[in-house]
Symmetry: C2
Subunit: 194 residues, 2 copies
């Protein structure tokens, strides 16, 4: 019923994560209702990003330069934090808690999804261990995340580098009565002196 | 911390309706992670829409042609359905229940927002009454919607055209016990023979 240009745009927007046909229609209407202030600047920003943003050849994150600003920063500590995705890297950077370097795996090991070690950026990680005093495995507390961490630890330890993982347990502000059994078991077995 | 190209894109995407910084980061990451399959086609679709989509000079909707496909369709009945927005027009078209024509007001009367009759597409509506046997006011059941409907009815009736409104009452599938008092009062006073 709509113009093909509108239907195509709704379709593409509706495929973005977290969006569906309904929210896509709303977004497309807003964009088309205010071309000069919304649609044109967005097209321009997307075109700029398409042209200038690329994966860092060292750590794999997305940035406007290659190597990325973090890899190129000499004041960053040589400790390397291994993350699943750029999203996780961004989350750690927003926290401001970590001043080392990163390595983006680009996924997790998953036999079901057919993702083995060769599909992840593991070789580039092994290639940059020389200056790293420690590798922090900041992978999700899921089956795939923990399997990937286990695999990486087995690969990295023989090289002689220190390998650590994020602590697991009760999240800050987390109530005990709504905690899942897995987390509760972990928090109990890893209990510390008060 | 991120490249300015990425931050700008997150900022613009985060201003779209229903999105915030968190969902914008997720969307931008997905776009940048798959430029060829996602970002470039979206830029192209947006550019096409920016070039080709415009407001219909007659009814005010958005379409790839002017007059729009509905206004240009000789098989459409001459009855005119007045809606607040293009979104409402799309909703009525999706229902497939109405085979007449439309008129998009472009908003509702709102003294608080400083929107008077001159800010709405009322003059173009008055200009196209000649062939219309009836005007259906399909405006929202809000204070502003009903005030606008009342104003329009007062303006249209002296012209001699039949003016109707959508029925109000219990929505289909609506439970009585969670209905607001306003709807309940309306449904009671407008009750019909069973």
């Amino acid at each position: 019923m709509n113009a093909p240009e509108i239907e195509r745009l709704i379709q593409l927007v509706g495929r973005l994560p977290g969006l569906g046909p309904r929210s896509a229609r709303r977004i497309v209407l807003r964009l088309l209702s205010d071309k000069e202030q919304r649609l044109i600047p967005l097209i321009q920003a997307m075109a700029d990003a398409a042209t200038n943003v690329q994966n860092c050849r060292i750590c794999g994150t997305l940035d406007g330069t290659d190597p990325c600003a973090i890899c190129a920063d000499p004041t960053r500590e040589p400790i390397i934090c291994v993350v699943e995705s750029v999203a996780d890297l961004w989350a750690l950077e927003r926290s401001g808690l970590f001043r080392g370097r990163y390595h983006v795996l680009g996924g997790l090991l998953s036999p079901i999804a057919g993702r083995g070690p060769d599909q992840l950026r593991i070789a580039p990680l092994l290639a940059r261990l020389a200056d790293a005093p420690e590798i922090i495995l900041a992978l999700p507390s899921t089956v795939e995340g923990q399997a990937s961490a286990h695999y990486l630890a087995e690969r990295l330890k023989p090289v002689g580098v220190r390998v650590t993982r994020l602590a697991q347990g009760v999240p800050v502000g987390g109530a005990i009565d709504i905690l899942d059994d897995g987390t509760l078991a972990l928090a109990l077995s890893a209990r510390r002196e008060a």
